[in-house]
């Protein structure tokens, strides 16, 4: 039997298990030119929260009582296509269900056998491309500079910090638990980490740690910390707007209008970007370079794997309650 995740109602703030339904159906049949893909891993990503609301996302919203979609890795179990053979591992943008039919247009083969295939959803997928290009193309870090990363223990943040270390930066993470801080410092080599849930005054903590000021801020969260960062920034600092996970569930931070004046006086640049800005060569270079760093032991990655399609809602909800270190995956 096939099992399908559908959106039962639009969440008001953080999604709830009742916002989703799991339905069953027959395994779909394929026509000439098509393949049947059995899902191995579903990728739970923060951007999916906005698709649960009406017209908030850059992508079409999920429809009520219809299957949600996302990226996944699967294996070809039936093929009427010349391009794909049974046993091929593929990834692509498909439905959140166990069995997907594809004509090959939305998927690619996973060819690198030296690294587990689900990395195509993480370090060697969108989070990797996002971290690499957001940091290097937009942020342009220089040796000796100080970078602060919000949402630092997530799939993107953990990579940004490690790449910044390779480029010779002082790296400070902002996270929501001591366990995450310990992981970032002990295992990934971050220079310092602040647990925003227990820190009495994040600005003071940052001021103490960032003895040479802040040159780069890689923002995955979109909260009011931006105000403090700009106050503590050096001249010509760069602020990389990658995500606003704090806002996806409806929270609305206060942005101090004084930051406009500070940005002027300090010649600060704040730049948003989307992964689509880096299609083609820049995506390929990111994947190649990160693969190399993994093989050289310079980049580590962690996956937070939840098992069973019935736990799909849990995987999504966990993104917004700070459950995951590294890439949030659902193993089928």
């Amino acid at each position: 039997m096939n099992k399908i995740i559908t959106l039962a109602r639009r969440p008001e703030q953080i999604p709830d298990e009742k916002d989703f339904t799991i339905t069953s159906g027959p395994i779909p049949e394929i026509k000439q030119g098509q393949i049947l893909i059995k899902t191995l891993f579903l990728s739970a990503d923060p951007y999916m929260r906005e698709r649960m609301d009406l017209s908030k996302s850059y992508m079409p919203e999920f429809k009520l009582n219809e299957m949600i979609t996302g990226t996944l890795v699967g294996v070809v179990i039936e093929s009427k296509s010349k391009q794909f053979s049974i046993g091929d591992t593929v990834y692509g943008f498909l439905g959140w269900q166990i069995y997907n039919v594809s004509d090959g247009t939305n998927i690619s083969k996973v060819t690198n056998k030296s690294i587990p295939p689900q990395t195509a959803l993480g370090v060697l997928g969108s989070p990797g491309i996002t971290a690499y290009n957001g940091l290097l193309e937009i942020g342009k870090p220089k040796k000796g500079e100080t970078i602060v990363i919000s949402g630092a223990a997530g799939a993107v943040g953990t990579l940004v910090g490690q790449i910044a270390k390779i480029y010779g930066c002082k790296v400070i993470g902002i996270v929501g638990s001591d366990e995450k801080c310990k992981y970032l410092i002990d295992e990934l080599g971050f220079d310092a980490c602040i647990n925003y849930k227990t820190s009495l005054n994040i600005k003071e903590a940052l001021e103490k740690i960032c003895t040479n000021g802040i040159d780069l801020y890689y923002d995955n969260v979109g909260n009011g910390l931006l105000n403090d960062i700009i106050e503590l920034s050096n001249k010509k600092a760069r602020i990389i707007l990658c995500g606003q996970i704090s806002q996806y569930n409806g929270s609305s931070p206060t942005i101090n209008p004084k930051i406009l004046g500070l940005m002027t006086k300090k010649s600060i640049t704040m730049q948003g970007f989307m992964i689509h800005d880096f299609i083609g060569e820049k995506s390929e270079r990111a994947i190649q370079q990160i693969s190399l760093w993994i093989q050289q032991g310079q980049i580590q990655y962690r996956e937070n794997v939840i098992e069973g399609i019935e736990n799909a809602p849990k995987a999504l909800i966990g993104l917004f309650t700070g459950q995951n270190i590294g890439k949030q995956l659902l193993k089928i």
Copy 2:
């Protein structure tokens, strides 16, 4: 007799005539290596407002009951220096008084005799360098793009609009009077202009005019219009933060936190800058190019001249009450 403008008290919002005192004193005597300069024109500039407050400016604050300083153009009337002769026209950063003594370190000679010397305070001075480099180096306008300029009738705004026209942009000004709108459209060739004081809904007005969206926003004002601009912006739009004249007197607009998400989804860049970012070659190129455009009739400029040192407070106050079209000068 010399006459000197001093700061009598710190203004709370828009400066008042009582915030300044005019004192008299003897004409200063010069020593070997020095010159005596008689002021011809004082430059009233928005940044001076922040120097009237404590620690708000990037420059030292004006001290209470001491002379205020700024840029001026004057003529050498006595010289004990080998570098300067009587009759030389000079400009530089000096005191707001009729007679200044200088050893030549803070001043330069005005050598271009084909254009009135006070342009060294306007189109061929800081406002010119600011407009030229802010637009071209930060904004990088392309032919056919749409630019919106706030504070468009000021010394910087009028230049930005005309340079953007030379570069083939559609140019929309935001100003505070119909007279200013008329000037921008009829005399400077702006494509459209909005009087924010009489427009019922600026966002709707902008939406109607900017039929291809907004690609560039040159912000001299720092108010909440930024929220609307970002909503109406195209992908890869550039926001140039040049000044926050609306905030200098203590007003505090609401910045919508949703702009962070819009900046991400649309890959928008917002960049602050200071004239100091363009010292040297880039300043010289700006002045040369603007001189050429003036000679070719492609750039026009207007000066709003108030006469008499006793009217110095009026010249400063006028900046914040929307009195000036073009460069605000005080003729002595």
